[in-house]
């Protein structure tokens, strides 16, 4: 949404929203920075969840010159978008998370190699993709954040939000915001870490809020997980109906993050957006010292990977130790506003300087200029037909000849 808003300033943009938008072309109205109104086409999905079966048709219909796609490489069908890209029918710019350790599975590398360009989200992924032999990788560009919105708030102005999350003004409020995935998000380890911390501090008033669906096909039953971890009495989850109907809007989330004392985000991330959100509002993060997290987390505590697990799909994941998470929670609990306070203000400023959309889009426009230049050199830009004549050609064109 944010990228589209900025891109329309310099490019014609259409959106493919395949999830939740089937069989009808829709439009959204936006405004360029100069005030000009823009109507953006929102193309639908058809049968496939990710729109892989229809994106080529949309590409032609819109007369697109590049397809920007933010997606996991491993979920993509090699016979769909990568095949179109290899045949030259689309120019595919993939913006993938790399949320597993080395070695990156061969099929992921093969998929990525079909893209015209790959723009990773972090330096860690960039270095590793190069090390795996890819030659189409551009400098990484992180995800952006609306730093005009994501700011520290006076939590005392939002008692209803505090109450809705099960938090209180005098409790130690632990926030976890993640997809409900079994394998990637270290839910069990994180809750176990909170349980150990609770056990070590029997008199502490601890509260835990889980911003994730309470059930998911490839995830946990969060109520049962909290019960199993001995945390049912201090844990609250989101309102699932509120969540699936999109009512936790960005303003609401800013308030919710502001209610927390710490955000635990200890899975092996492709980026770890919740960590960025937390730091933007001045909340420290406990993250995993692997993947992109060391690049993203400046305010908080990194815990080391304690277990490395490889799946049948040959993705290698890292998990933290609950003991380390408990230690990190203890450190933050024991030092409220203490040695971390200076870090807090510096980090809020660092987030602004590094991740605000203005900064991020400047990088994107530089990338897109380079991509456009490269496509133009290869004579594949549809809008450039016929190609621009050289000055010399134009000079010759001015030499008019008249024959009687």
């Amino acid at each position: 949404m944010y990228m589209t808003h900025y891109l329309i300033d310099k490019h014609e943009v259409a959106v493919l929203a395949s999830v939740g938008n089937m069989f009808s072309l829709d439009y959204v109205d936006d405004t360029k920075s100069n005030g000009d109104p823009v109507r953006i086409s929102v193309y639908p999905g058809a049968g496939d969840q990710y729109g892989e079966d229809i994106v080529g048709y949309h590409y032609d219909d819109f007369k697109a010159e590049i397809l920007l796609q933010m997606a996991d490489a491993w979920i993509l069908n090699p016979d769909k978008i990568p095949k179109l890209a290899r045949s030259g029918k689309i120019h595919w710019i993939l913006i993938p998370p790399i949320d597993f350790l080395d070695p990156i599975p061969k099929r992921v590398i093969e998929t990525l190699s079909a893209a015209f360009k790959v723009v990773p989200w972090c330096r860690d992924a960039y270095d590793r993709l190069l090390a795996h032999g890819l030659t189409n990788v551009m400098e990484p560009i992180p995800l952006g954040i609306n730093t005009g919105l994501w700011q520290p708030l006076d939590r005392y102005k939002f008692p209803k939000t505090m109450e809705a999350m099960g938090f209180t003004y005098d409790s130690f409020n632990i926030l976890m915001v993640n997809a409900n995935q079994f394998f990637r998000k270290a839910w069990a380890e994180s809750l176990e870490g909170v349980a150990i911390f609770k056990h070590r501090n029997p008199d502490a008033k601890i509260r835990l809020y889980l911003h994730t669906p309470s059930n998911s096909p490839d995830g946990w039953n969060m109520v049962e997980l909290a019960e199993t971890s001995g945390l049912a009495d201090i844990t609250r989850g989101l309102d699932t109906y509120h969540f699936v109907t999109g009512r936790y809007d960005e303003e609401e989330l800013v308030k919710m993050f502001n209610m927390a004392d710490v955000c635990v985000n200890c899975g092996l991330e492709g980026f770890g957006y919740a960590s960025l959100q937390a730091q933007a509002v001045g909340v420290p993060v406990i993250g995993l010292n692997a993947g992109p997290t060391p690049e993203i987390v400046k305010y908080g505590v990194l815990v080391k990977p304690a277990a490395i697990i490889r799946t049948p799909s040959l993705q290698t994941n890292a998990f933290p130790s609950p003991l380390d998470i408990a230690d990190a929670l203890q450190m933050l609990y024991d030092n409220p506003g203490g040695k971390f306070a200076k870090q807090r203000d510096e980090t809020i400023e660092w987030v602004k300087q590094t991740f605000s959309w203005e900064v991020i889009m400047k990088k994107w426009f530089e990338h897109l200029d380079r991509i456009e230049e490269e496509l133009d050199r290869a004579c594949v830009l549809r809008s450039r037909y016929p190609p621009k004549p050289s000055n010399r050609s134009l000079e010759l064109a001015q030499q008019v000849k008249v024959l009687e």
Binding site: C379, P387, S393
Partner: protein
Amino acid sequence: MKIVWAQDLNFFRYDGGAERTDRTYFREGLKRGHDLRLVTPEMQSVLEKDDIIILSNIRGFSREQVLGIPSRAVTFTHDWWCKYRLYIPLSVKCFSDCPEYSYWSKVYEKAELNIFLSPLHYAIHKERFGEAVEPHFLTPSGFDNVDAFFDTMKERKDYCNVNGLLPFKGREPLIKFAKENPDVQIDVGGSSTENGRKLDVDLPENMKYVGPIPESQLNEFYNKHEFYIELPDTPQPYNRTVAEAYLSGCKIKGNALLGALSWEFTDRESVRKHLRESPRVFWETLERELKL
């Protein structure tokens, strides 16, 4: 020894200008008794070391196919050249890092003779590819109907063009000219589609699109008009319509990017003679240079 003529399109089935050129020269070769065969990308041809292949418009052939040809080769490239229709070697990028450059350098280098349609066509290749295009030979577009174009001595007025909607034939400069000269009426004929896509263009009031013109009516169309105008902004190897219109009695308003006008167009009969004799001269040159 056989001579294989490689062309993207079967010029006995397609009737574009480039195919007509090839067909005219091909027929003359047959008349002269050469064992001449056409090969398109879909067809197979077994070449032997002493055979000759004439590489006409060969974008549809794979690079490996072309560079791996075991026989002697001649180039006669004058239509589809790189990605773009006709001929855009004066585009900015063509002189920087065109990805086609290396391939075509090798093709011209490999050829024993490189044939171009006009002094302009040759000069641009020479500038771009240097010695790779030598030795060379010039011959105009092939006309098998040169006498179909003549001056009917009827009253003429206004301007005409028969390529007016095609972007690579100078559509935009023509529209610009029309806007700058609102008193001039320009009748534009020719195809309204390119590569199957409809060419939707907003024309100024003094430009009228009159639709495709059958070849049998071309001379009549030219004869209604005082001027034939064509103002491309990228080089055209020859541009047969200029010669047709000239032979039909039109005055020509063109520019230095029309290959046809880089030949000496001193008078209509000398142009007619040149075009009529070109197929013979073409084969005499090949026979002499390649010792056929």
